[in-house]
């Protein structure tokens, strides 16, 4: 089965702009998890979407938002970009392996200039 896919691979924006990142979970799974991996801050849980609803949220400001579509793909939107938003954004999905295990996509590297 296809793994988690993310696009784009790289994204360059300037401060104040908006960024949109996309993710598709492993086929047949309804949950999508978003994580931010910023330099010096490690991997931090951002958002969890399931069945089209936001189910859980990490400690991030409201300008980080997203949505999940009927086909379970998801968008992460970051508004009013700040320099410190530069990071690798990773998306994860459950898979056919162990239950309660998250399998990650290749990530989108966002650079804010």
């Amino acid at each position: 089965e296809a793994g988690v896919t993310q696009s784009p691979t790289h994204l360059i924006k300037t401060r104040g702009q908006q960024a949109t990142l996309r993710c598709s979970p492993i086929s047949g799974h309804t949950s999508v998890y978003w994580y931010q991996q910023a330099l010096g801050l490690g991997l931090q849980f951002l958002l969890w979407y399931d069945e089209g609803e936001e189910r859980n949220r990490g400690n991030f400001p409201p300008r980080f938002s997203g949505r999940q579509f009927p086909n379970y793909s998801s968008e992460l939107n970051v508004n009013a970009l700040e320099l410190e938003d530069s990071a690798l954004y990773l998306c994860a999905s459950p898979g056919v392996g162990l239950a309660d295990t998250q399998y990650f996509g290749p990530g989108t590297r966002l650079t804010v200039l």
Binding site: G42, L43, F104, P106
Partner: protein, 115 residues
């Protein structure tokens, strides 16, 4: 509160050496899961293993082995006869059984294996 500590920021070894990556966790939950992920230079997190809190059996998978000790809240990862391809950042993570959708990650250990 849940927390994962990987005290080793970076480890360098020469090929064929054995290396152990330490992971210490804190949780008040009695049922939880522990994970190890590998992040090669490409950036993608690769799942290696999951352990639940009721299963303290050590596990071996090829050159990889894991030692889970509840008494010391540790879940250490050993690579035997390391290879250059093992060079990556390794993350230990924790989730509560009631909240498996939020992984709490350690800060990672960068392993460099030199030929």
């Amino acid at each position: 509160a849940q927390k994962v500590t990987q005290a080793q920021t970076e480890i360098s070894v020469v090929e064929k050496e054995d290396v152990t990556l330490d992971c210490v966790y804190e949780t008040r939950d009695t049922t939880y899961y522990l994970f190890w992920y590998k992040q090669p230079p490409s950036g993608e997190l690769v799942f290696l293993i999951r352990r639940n809190s009721f299963d303290e059996q050590n596990e071996i998978s090829g050159r990889y082995s894991w030692n889970f000790q509840k008494s010391t809240s540790s879940f250490n990862f050993t690579i035997t006869a390391s290879q250059v391809v093992d060079s990556a950042v390794y993350f230990c993570a924790l989730s509560a059984a009631w909240d498996t959708d939020k992984l709490i990650f350690g800060t990672g250990t960068r392993l460099q294996v030199f030929p």
